[in-house]
Each structure stands twice: as C-alpha cells, then as structure tokens.
Symmetry: D2
Subunit: 278 residues, 4 copies
Amino acid sequence: MADRIILIDCPDEKGLIYNIMKVIYNHQLNVTSNQEFVDGVSGTFFMRTVVEGNGWSSEVEKELIKKLPDRATVRTSVMKKKPVVVLATKEPHCLGEILLKNRYGELQSDLKAVVSNHDELRPLAESFDIPFHHVPVGSKSREEHDERVSDVVQQYSPEYLVLAKYMRIFTPEFVKRYPNRIINIHHSFLPAFIGASPYKQAYDRGVKIIGATAHFVTEDLDEGPIIAQDVLPVNHTYTAEGMAQAGQDVEKNVLTRALKLVLEERVFIYKHKTILFE
Amino acid sequence: MADRIILIDCPDEKGLIYNIMKVIYNHQLNVTSNQEFVDGVSGTFFMRTVVEGNGWSSEVEKELIKKLPDRATVRTSVMKKKPVVVLATKEPHCLGEILLKNRYGELQSDLKAVVSNHDELRPLAESFDIPFHHVPVGSKSREEHDERVSDVVQQYSPEYLVLAKYMRIFTPEFVKRYPNRIINIHHSFLPAFIGASPYKQAYDRGVKIIGATAHFVTEDLDEGPIIAQDVLPVNHTYTAEGMAQAGQDVEKNVLTRALKLVLEERVFIYKHKTILFE
Amino acid sequence: MADRIILIDCPDEKGLIYNIMKVIYNHQLNVTSNQEFVDGVSGTFFMRTVVEGNGWSSEVEKELIKKLPDRATVRTSVMKKKPVVVLATKEPHCLGEILLKNRYGELQSDLKAVVSNHDELRPLAESFDIPFHHVPVGSKSREEHDERVSDVVQQYSPEYLVLAKYMRIFTPEFVKRYPNRIINIHHSFLPAFIGASPYKQAYDRGVKIIGATAHFVTEDLDEGPIIAQDVLPVNHTYTAEGMAQAGQDVEKNVLTRALKLVLEERVFIYKHKTILFE
Amino acid sequence: MADRIILIDCPDEKGLIYNIMKVIYNHQLNVTSNQEFVDGVSGTFFMRTVVEGNGWSSEVEKELIKKLPDRATVRTSVMKKKPVVVLATKEPHCLGEILLKNRYGELQSDLKAVVSNHDELRPLAESFDIPFHHVPVGSKSREEHDERVSDVVQQYSPEYLVLAKYMRIFTPEFVKRYPNRIINIHHSFLPAFIGASPYKQAYDRGVKIIGATAHFVTEDLDEGPIIAQDVLPVNHTYTAEGMAQAGQDVEKNVLTRALKLVLEERVFIYKHKTILFE
C-alpha cells in the first residue's frame, strides 16, 4: 500500500506534536518522515508527516481533527502520480524538460496533454506521444479564448496546470477555477521585473545577476506565492537576447524543481507565501 | 616605476586596436594586460590596457588621442592606493570588512577616515587606528547635515566615498560633488525592494533568495549604475530579522568586491550601466 | 531562564517522537524548535529540540533516558556563549572575521585567546583586546611544541579550538585531548587536494571551481567529519596565488558558518559524518 | 559569408597584438570579437579573434604565420555546426538534454547518431529522429567492442564524440583516434572521487556539496583537461541514490555548457588545462 502524506496546519499550542503522534502511535502507523515548522510571527503550526500505508484508515484523520485546535486543517493524500496539463506558447525548453522528466518518472506527474496558443510545439509534444492541442487566439476575446482553453483542459481533469512559458495572461475567471493549482515560470527574479520583457528590463537596468521564479498563479499578475527561484550571473557582454538564451536553463530547472515540490505535496501556502518541506 | 592603466572609450571603427597598439608599440611599451569590449547595440568600443611603467610619458596619451575618433575618451592612471573615506551608521559588518582588507592591502585603498551620524562604530574604527568623526544629525536639516559631513570629508581629499550601510539619503547637492565617486551597498537584489527595509519587503513577499547590490550613487535613489550583486538562498524559516542577519556576509562581500574593481580602475560607466574588466 | 537544547540519538523505533513529546508535555515545557532525522540506512534517529528554560529540571533528562531505547544518547545544554581559543599562523582573514563576529555577538562564542606559532597576528588580536600568545616552534619537536601550545590553551578551558589557518599538523596526542572539539578550515573542496598547497594543486589540475572545507579534526589529516563547504568559480586567468587570494573570502565564510552551527549545538557526528539541524 | 574564427597561440613577445591587427587591418577585415590571454607563468600568448567573413582569404592566415614567432599556431575555422556523435549507456538525462538543444539549435552541433552498449535509449533517440546504434558488449573483449564502436562512429565522420554518461572506459587506442575530440561528463567534482561510483564515495565521505565535471578524454582516466564544472549543495538527508538523482541536472547542464564552448571554438588546450574565451 502506498505511503500516506498527512499535512496539518493549525494555531500553535503546547502539546501539538504529542497529540498528533499519540493518534499515529495508537494506530500503530510507522512514521517514515516528519517535519514541522512554527511560524513564530503568527503563531501557526505546520506539519508534514509521511506514514507507511498499511494500517491507515480514514479513522486516523477523524481522530486527528478531534485532537487538534478548532481552526486546524488536516489534508491527507496517497503518494502517487498526479494528472497534469501543460500550457506553452513557442519556446521549447521548459516543455522539453517536463516531457523528459515526466517520461522518466522524475516528477510525480502524469502528463496528460499540452495546450498552446500556437502550433510550433506540436512536434515536440507528439514525439513524446503526448496529445497536443492548438487553441489559436485569432479574433477571439481573452474571455472566449480562455473559455476554449478551459474546455480542452477540463477533459483531462488535471490536478495541476503548468504554464511552461505560456505567454498570455489568464482572465480572473480562469484562475479562479484552479485555486493554487496553476504553476507559472516567470523569467525574472521576482519581484524585480514584473510584467512583459523582463530580460529587456534587466538589460536596460544593467543588473549583474538574472533569475527565474516559479510561483502559483493568482488573479494578481506575477504576485502569487513563490515556490522556487534561482539565478545566473551575467555581465555587460550580454545583450537582452543573450540574457534570454542564458536564462533558459535556469527557467526550466526552477520550474521542474517547483513542480517536484508541489507534486510531492511538500508545499503549504500561507499568507500569500509558501512553506516548503524539502 | 608603477604600471600604467589606460582606459579608452570611443565610437567603434575598423582598425581601432591596430591604431592603439601601434602607438604603444612605437613607444616600446610592454602590454601586461589587455581587454576590449564592443557594445554592439550602440557601436561603442571600450578598452583597458595595462603597460609597464618604464617608457611611459604623457606623449603616449597625446598620440593616442590623435589616432582615435573625435569623441574618444582616454584616461590614464598609475596603479596605486587611492584615498578613501567610509561613511557608516551603526552596523559594523561592512565597515569591519573594509578595515581588515584595507589594513592587509587587499584593496587598492588608503582608508583615511570613517564618518558617521552615530557614535557606535568609533571603537571599531579606532582599534584599526583610523580617525572617526561623529557628525550627529540632531536638529540639523538634511542640507545642513550633509554640509557638515562634506566639510569633514573634504579635509581628506578622498578619491572615493564608500557608504558602508550609511542609512541616510544624501541631498542631490552632495551627490553632485562626487560624480561616480560614491559607492553604496544596498541590502537587496536591486531593482527588487528599492527604498527602506528591503529585508522586511523580502520577508513579506516570501522570496526564496535575497541579495545585495553595490552601485554608484546618483541623484536617483537606488538607481545608480550597478557594480556587483550577489545572492543567498533563504526559506520560510527566516524572519525579516533573520534575513537581515544572514544577508550581512553577502553585503560585505559584494561591497568589497565592487570596491576592488573600482579602485583597480576596472569599471567603465556607460549609459547608466557598468562595463567591468575583471 | 535561558532556553534548553536537547540532543537525542538512538536506534529508530515506532513511537519515538510520541514518547519524547510525552515527557516534554508532562513537564509542561514549551517546544520552540524541533527537528528530527532518521538515517534510513543505519536505522538511527536524531532529534534536536529546544524548549523554553522555565520548567526544565534534570528530571526531564532522566525520564527521557528511561523512555528511550537502550543505546540512546541524550545531551542537554543551555543556550549560551562558549569559551573558544583560536589558533592561527600568519594569515589574518579568518582570524579577523572571527574577531569581528565574536565582538558583535554573531557567534555563540566567548573568544578567550589567540595562540600562534608566529607573532604576525599579535596586533590584530590585541586591537580587539584578545590575549595573544606566541608559541614559537624554534628547535622544538612537534611533540614539545604541541605540549607547549596545550599548556597555553588549557589555562582558558576552551570548549572548542578553532584552527583559523593554523598551518601545522597536530600530534595524535594533542588531537585526542579535544575529541570533536577542534574545528579546522582546509583551503580546498575536500576530498580534493588533501595536504599541503591545495591551491597549487588546484592550479596544476586546471579546475574551474575552488573551495574550502570546515571539518572536525581527527587523527587522520583532512579526513575528519565535514561541517561546511563552499566554492568559488575560477578560470585560466588565475595563478595559484590568485586562487589563494580569491579563496580567502570563501575560507572565512565557511569557517564562521561551521562555527555558528557547532556553537549553537546544531551538529551531530555520526559514522564520521555530520548531521546538521540548520 | 559566415564569420571566421582565428585562434592563435605562441610565445609572448612585445608587439604581438599590433602585428596581428596590422594583418587584419590591411585586409580590411572587421573584428567583431577579440580576446587575448597571456599566461604569465610560461610566457604564452593566446588569442581568439572573430572577423566578418567577407574579405577573408587563406592569404590572411599565411601572412599571420609570417608575422608571428616561430612556434606559433594559427588555426582558423568557419562558424558553423559541427558533426557530433553521442555515446551513452542507460541514463537518459544527458542524452535528452543534448537531443533537445541540438534540435532547437542551441548548440553548434549537427547530431549524427547515438551509439550505446545498451538498447534502453533507442526510443529516446528515435523520437528525435536521430539514428541509434546498439553495440552490445556481449562476450567481446574491450578491444573488440571499441573496434566495433569505432566502425559505427566512423561512418558519421564526427568532429567530436560526446560521452553522455557512457559507463565504459575506452582503450588507449580508441582515445588516440580522437585526440582532444572526446568530451566526457564525470559525475563528481574532479579531482574528488575519481573512478567508479563517485556519488557513493561522496555519500561515504559526507561532503556537503556534490558536482560534475566535463573534460576532454585522455588516456589517463578522469585526468583530461577540465572544461566546465558545477556543484550542488547536499546534506545528511541525501542517500547515495538521492545524490545521484539530484546530480542529474548539474551533469547535463555542465555537459552542454562544455559542448557549447567546444563547438564554438572557444577552448584552447595548454599544458593539460583549458583556456576558455567565453
């Protein structure tokens, strides 16, 4: 039986770990991994515990809730691959990386389909035997296009949407359908260079380091909770295009690092920030 | 005789290196280091050449100017320690690092004095036998205080002013007196988190990497040409104060790296950006 | 009352966290920080828990031992500054960094004295009002010199000895007196370039990255448990001396990072390796 | 007409750059990029110059040789894609990365074929329409197998062989056929952990950073000139397998970084080390 992941957050109080472990111990569950964090500022307790699957029953969850403070959240899930749909535009590097890692089991992903507003990436997706859907924008309004994308996406019932350099902004209506379920890669070290053309902005400002940021998508553009970031040194010999090219490896590495964390249920979202149990 | 540094910038044209090297060769000067960069976007040529001191005369400079295009700039200087004044407030880490590196000759600096709006750092400066001047703000206006600081600074005729966590903003009048001669360390990865309390801003945004930026001070706050940047990974366990503490090592390393470049005449400023010959 | 740090290691078994937390809970101690790690290969459990000082009594420790498996180790200590003696030779950068961080309370250290086989660093130590002892080697054998050093060191009853570029090798007898209590900085990315002149070795091999390693000193030279490492990119323009100079910042940063971990009781040594609760 | 790359190395002497630039200037060639390096230890001059293709003739090369010291080497080549054969075994990450970057023109490579001692990677190569050759070892001696591999490779007349986690050691005879033309990725930060199972060695030693090294293959195993290296922080929670998995991204990034440098003719080999004009 697959391992069970238990995610708990609640107001901090004395004896929490004791009370949680008592329930787990009474059910003779073996803890294979356990991590806690107390946010001292807000007095909030977070815990990620993995127990071996045998002996698990929904009773455990019920008992945990009974033992915990009123505003506790307890989520449990089985460790297994999750259905994912990728949205991309024209750049192949992030999509290619996900296709490779999905194929060789390096992510807990079951990649169902690739959806794009352009047709350029079709051969790449199809060479990995992943269905590709071209949803051209044409004369459609943003609302109409998002509606059409949504129709295509929904047939795969994905648990997560991954924006692998999808160069369009979703309507709030679209975002609301996937709360904390859309992961984007932004090609800058947020919050520097929000919006379009971050490499051009970085070039103009003359920064000595560029970066990439993977974050959850919220209704506020480029403002969602950050999951992972990384950087790359640059210098005066880089044009804006050179930065964009050099940044590709960082973008794809940051995006798949974030995906790995999310798909393995290692991420709490709290107060617009993430808590990562790596 | 000390080595001579030659810094040239001019519009790019065919034969530039040839023409420059002809002058140097005709004077039988030995080139010990030579670096060029052509900014393709603006068509501008930059060169830093170091020649052995023997055989150098002001004639060389004159001949170079004659051979170069009209808008050429030729600057030459002897490789030697330059007078520097440090301004700081209360935090000792950047000042301490400069005091150590200055004492052991790791920077081309001749540290003349430390000036501060507080008195806390006096023992640190004085234990390195560096004069310390406390210029309290009291009820003085910004203009009056800057004037007073300026009086103290000027007695040392510094070539560069270093703001080692000097937590005040200079008036434009003060800045104008030292064009491209004031180096500041900003405790964020600019242009993220401009202004006050960057670590607090970083904490609130939930970034996964923090950084520091050394830059020339211009009249636009935090907008001057960037010389050096570096970063440090952080996570949800860091408070804003924890970030500030962890960031200290990055701040001091970035500041002294920038100082080393500036004091060794390795920095061109062009279009509000820096070109570094490292 | 100062916080109390509890360090536990024992064979892993079901219910460990539960049993430990039960004791802590029964004594009404508040847990401010808690970290566990199970080494799956050997089946060993490690835990670092910090509880608020009020309510602590030696009873807690006794009860914990009773509840734990036979081969358990329980160590507890109060969070406070620990007496430290630094040994150095001629290079000032590591010593300077420790003097600064010790003075401004950035390490949990109470620096008692500096001991050196040369006299060069005396002014540096004394400018920070730290006693300096010059123990010249002269015609003394290694054993005699170590004996003399030991005499000087022992008068300060240090909890840790820090080798801040101390360029001599201790006799096994000396090392045995301070088991897991001597921290050294080696100027290479161990296990690359063991022994003397690691930068020269790095230069000859043409590596593109150099590093530094802080480790506990054991009787096997450069083979003790590694606490911290970091690296720096280099290239063909670096001579061996240039690498040595560039490496200084990494050396001092790695050494003080390791010291911080050790002095805050965040380090377990197990099977010649370290487990760090950062 | 494609740009022309000129690579020169020779004993250093006064006037070298002048003499070289005179030839280039006399032929009215436009220099688009120029980099020099003088190895002060051996007194050797290295230069990489790129000139626009128009106006180039073999005369230029002849004149350069005439102007340069006796032991000068002048190599020139056109900037264009070079034929490459990849050898791999079972791990897909490095091969996958090369297939992607080759397909999208991010390397100056024309990937002709993949050769392997196993058949696992066939689908990956073939999904990118690259011929795949399985050359099983079976009961063949190392010499026989290398001979067979050589037969397959030679039909593609590759300029470079890339070992993308090819887990066999070549005979000296094989290596001699491709002097400075075989690029390998070793899964450690050389010279640490030479030979087999570097991640197991790294785990056993308890290092805090792991790495990867791309190098030219010589007859001395893992001793060839290093082209690129990079590292990744690890800690006590990593098993040897966990390190191997985490190291994959570093391996593939380092390998393709090295390939890019080699294929763009940015690498000099000198005294068993590399000089990189990046």
